[in-house]
């Protein structure tokens, strides 16, 4: 290549507890502050110490669409790292390692790579300069060869450790600077052209974005039980509970979580919970209750590798079928945001839709979206104005909580209002809330009420389907020979794959769903029919979205699929490679 690259992939690897996350944060935020784009992915295990972890960051002058495959630069912190990562480094790449810790001669492993052993112990012997701080030195060395401004790194360290003693900040800054200086003297700068655009972006995860989105759009009650990879939302909101005056409650289990938010929603408070598939399974009965009582709740399911306990720290989109769980028919909305920015707005939209339709709104995230760090443009807090739906302030005369209306939505009177007394029951009930399931069951009048009230609840879904659900987006040439179809968090990776395929001469576009249910079926079918061949790309075994489309639209032409279920998220390169195999089997 003649032109210097405008992106670079850096991998930092070591033991859990080696400070991978903090060095990754320093490196990522430094790049973000320089106006560069970052996509990072953290590979870790369900162990607190002793596991091997690595963080890969794809940094670019343009938006980077995945964390990439083979790294250009590897930063290795412990002795387990070289055999695992050296073979994966891109041809001609660079390896930084802590030579005070990794004493073997790594250069024998591959002769096409350049190895730099940074002697942490020789460079600093201060008391307090623990070996665990080597990650900061190696980050300093890395940014030097990437030609990035070290002052931004020093400033970030000051901000990051701002609450600690001055000596701690100074020590970290000195270690960072020693890395920069060492590399300036010993290492050759990489031929790369990383140019930031000067824009301020946030470096954050999808869980941060969900948390901020809930907070910004009026959540006042959040109840959850810890479950990876959803717990980040609980952690985020817990730190905001006092300052933003909301109740954040860790409950005894997920059954309690969903019932807590039903109670809060009933009393007129915006309420949400998040969990992963196992917890969601426990919540399913409560979901039906929210459907029956017509309570506005938001439930986020952050999918991980299933079934059962599955692979808690790995990626999968395997819970789409599960989102339809529950006995009987009741209305629900299912949304699957595509990235952190979308997560923020989707949280706001979900809270609005829940109150507009008085029904549960489910958000499907996954480990990749919820836990990977990426740069995101500062959010527009005014984009989704808070709309609370039909709430009746006072009652004149009789009040029917479940009044049959044309759109199926009955005005709410909040408990505590004089004159508005009613009972909301999980048993089938009439417009006033009076139960028709016991002594009145089977009477002709009850049959009629049942028909009317059940249809009223379900009618809300039809309005949502036609008024509020967004159609899938189509990017790339309209008349492409091949359409890659995805949903939720795979958006960027599929975009990246389309770029690679187009470069290789293929005619390809990308159809992507974020609003999964209820689908405006006829319009969706038109879009599907307009595609020449659709290949579904999903991180699950059974192509659950293909099944949903078949069920909802009758479209039965998706014959080939790309499925990944080993627990790792897609990258564009990975989709590209898998597609070659799929296409070879005609």
């Amino acid at each position: 290549m003649d032109r210097p690259k405008d992106s670079v992939i850096v991998r930092i690897a070591g033991a859990a507890g080696d400070g991978i996350a903090s060095s990754g944060e320093i490196f990522g935020k430094l790049c973000s502050r320089l106006g560069l784009h970052v996509m990072a992915y953290n590979a870790y295990q369900s162990a607190i110490r002793g596991g091997h972890v690595w963080l890969q960051l794809n940094v670019g002058s343009q938006k980077t669409l995945s964390h990439g495959e083979a790294p250009d630069v590897a930063v290795l912190l412990n002795r387990t790292s070289p055999p695992l990562h050296v073979p994966q480094v891109k041809k001609g790449g660079i390896v930084f390692y802590n030579s005070s810790n990794i004493t073997e001669d790594l250069s024998k492993m591959r002769d096409d790579l350049t190895f730099y052993g940074v002697p942490f112990r020789d460079l600093i012997s201060d008391k307090g300069a623990d070996m665990v701080m080597a990650n900061i030195m190696l980050i300093g060395a890395t940014i030097q060869i990437l030609g990035l401004n070290p002052q931004v790194g020093l400033d970030f360290i000051r901000d990051r450790f701002g609450k600690k003693e001055a000596t701690v900040i100074e020590l970290n800054q000195r270690i960072f600077q020693l890395g920069v200086d060492w590399a300036r003297e010993h290492a050759k700068p990489l031929k790369i052209n990383l140019r930031g655009d000067g824009k301020r972006r946030m470096f954050m995860t999808g869980n941060h974005a969900f948390g901020m989105g809930l907070l910004a759009h009026g959540v006042k009650f959040y109840a959850a039980y810890p479950m990876s990879p959803s717990t980040g939302i609980l952690h985020y909101l817990a730190t905001k509970a006092k300052s933003h005056k909301l109740v954040v409650k860790q409950t005894e289990d997920e059954i309690a979580s969903i019932n807590f938010i039903i109670g809060a929603a009933h009393a007129g408070v915006r309420a949400a919970t998040a969990t992963s598939g196992g917890g969601f399974s426990l919540m399913v009965e409560g979901l039906g209750l929210a459907g029956m009582l017509e309570e506005p709740i938001v439930v986020i399911n952050v999918q991980r590798g299933g079934p059962s306990t599955g692979i808690p720290t790995k990626q999968e989109q395997g819970d789409l079928n599960l989102m339809f769980g529950g006995q009987g028919d009741f209305p629900r909305i299912i949304l699957a945001p595509k990235d952190a920015e979308d997560a923020f707005y989707t949280a706001g939209r979900a809270l609005n839709l829940a109150e507009k339709y008085q029904m549960p709104v489910l958000i499907l995230s996954d480990l990749f979206l919820s836990e990977h760090f990426q740069t995101a443009d500062p959010f527009n807090f005014e984009a989704v104005p808070i709309e609370r739906g039909k709430v009746q302030e006072s009652v004149n005369g009789s009040y029917k909580r479940y009044l049959i209306t044309e759109d199926g939505v009955s005005p709410r009177v909040l408990p505590g209002s004089p004159g508005g007394i009613y009972v909301s029951a999980s048993d089938e009930h009439d417009e006033s809330g009076i139960v028709i399931s016991d002594v009145l069951a089977g009477l002709p009048s009850s049959l009629e009420i049942r028909n009317k009230i059940h249809a009223k609840r379900m009618r809300k879904l039809e309005r949502a389907r036609h008024v509020d659900m967004r159609l899938p987006t189509l990017s790339g040439p309209q008349d492409a020979e091949l359409t890659l179809m995805g949903w939720g968090s795979t958006y960027d990776a599929i975009e990246e794959a389309c770029g690679l395929l187009t470069e290789a001469g293929a005619s390809v576009n990308h159809l992507h769903f974020t609003d999964l249910y209820p689908l405006p079926a006829e319009k969706v079918l038109d879009l599907l029919n307009a595609c020449r061949e659709i290949i579904a790309v999903e991180t699950n075994y059974s192509s659950q979205m293909v099944r949903l489309l078949r069920a909802e639209t009758g479209y039965n032409e998706i014959k080939r699929t790309v499925n990944r279920y080993d627990g790792e998220p897609f990258t564009g390169e990975d989709i590209f490679n898998r597609l070659q195999e799929v296409l070879a089997h005609v």
Partner: protein
């Protein structure tokens, strides 16, 4: 000022004639006016079971929810609108069987609400199976050769779980029930009132007569409700069946830890962020 009749519902109870639950319903309607409570100020929350049909039979705001899940919902209603008086009601299967996990945590959490359990030691609505409080060897439809499991003791469970108000009454003694109920509602914290509420259809052992012959009001006999050891003794006494207030302590209720947040009821909070708050949230990630 409210009167008993203000709490009458247009729906008549579907309980069997003679059911112990009538006593509790009547005590509620009598206790509320004594506490100067108006119907709209009360939220009655139940699970599923014969006794859980109660919210339909009383004129207050009501939530008739899922089997075993009354407490999570009731606690959240209280946190969302703490100006309301929140009463959870249900049976022994609901509260001590399927919902016992929530009960234990509700007791240690100590949100200011009252839980009235109509304990009949049988599953009535499902026509007579063993319950968590059915006696050892008791023959039921699901244990035709006798119940092989020891009954759960709700009072010692409560005392051991940090419950700040623990009481038990036989529903046939309505006057005592009214007095205990009043104190339970006035208590600032989680109050458990376990009641013996005989099922006249499916439990021929724990009948009205059974309790009439055995219960003894310990509050008339010098019991000290601040003495938790005495409470355990009375709760496990085999010579008679103790009733009354076993234990009460005035530890701060959960809402006290959320004083700032709950200064104004949560449901009345203004929603949305100031520009300054928005900037602060964004700045954390720059």
């Amino acid at each position: 000022m409210s009167e008993m009749k203000d709490f009458n519902s247009e729906v008549h109870p579907d309980w069997c004639p003679g059911c112990g639950d009538f006593g509790l319903l009547s005590a509620m309607k009598k206790a509320f006016p004594l506490l100067n409570l108006e119907p709209h100020q009360i939220m009655t929350v139940s699970g599923i079971g014969c006794s859980s049909n109660l919210p339909g039979f009383i004129n207050t705001y009501g939530l008739h929810t899922l089997h075993g899940r009354a407490l999570p919902i009731a606690q959240a209603v209280k946190l969302a609108n703490h100006e309301m008086t929140v009463i959870a009601v249900g049976g022994d299967g609901d509260g001590y069987g399927i919902g016992v996990g929530h009960l234990v945590h509700a007791m240690r959490r100590n949100i200011d609400m009252t839980y009235l359990v109509m304990n009949n030691s049988i599953y009535g609505l499902t026509t007579g199976q063993t319950s968590p409080t059915s006696g050892l060897k008791m023959k039921t439809k699901s244990t035709p050769f006798g119940n092989p499991e020891l009954p759960l003791n709700p009072l010692t469970l409560a005392l051991g779980s940090g419950c700040s108000f623990v009481a038990r009454v036989y529903t046939g003694h309505v006057q005592q029930l009214i007095e205990v109920m009043k104190k339970a509602i006035e208590h600032q914290g989680f109050a458990l009132v376990d009641t013996f509420s005989p099922c006249v259809t499916f439990n021929k052992i724990n009948s009205h007569d059974f309790y009439k012959q055995r219960v003894k009001d310990i509050n008339k006999n010098g019991h000290d409700p601040s003495d938790i050891f005495a409470a355990f003794r009375e709760a496990t006494c085999e010579a008679y069946i103790a009733t009354g207030i076993f234990y009460q302590n005035e530890r701060p209720c959960y809402e006290a830890t959320e004083e700032e947040t709950l200064r104004e009821p949560l449901y009345k909070h203004r929603l949305g962020l100031t520009t300054e708050q928005q900037d602060q949230l964004v700045a954390e990630f720059l």
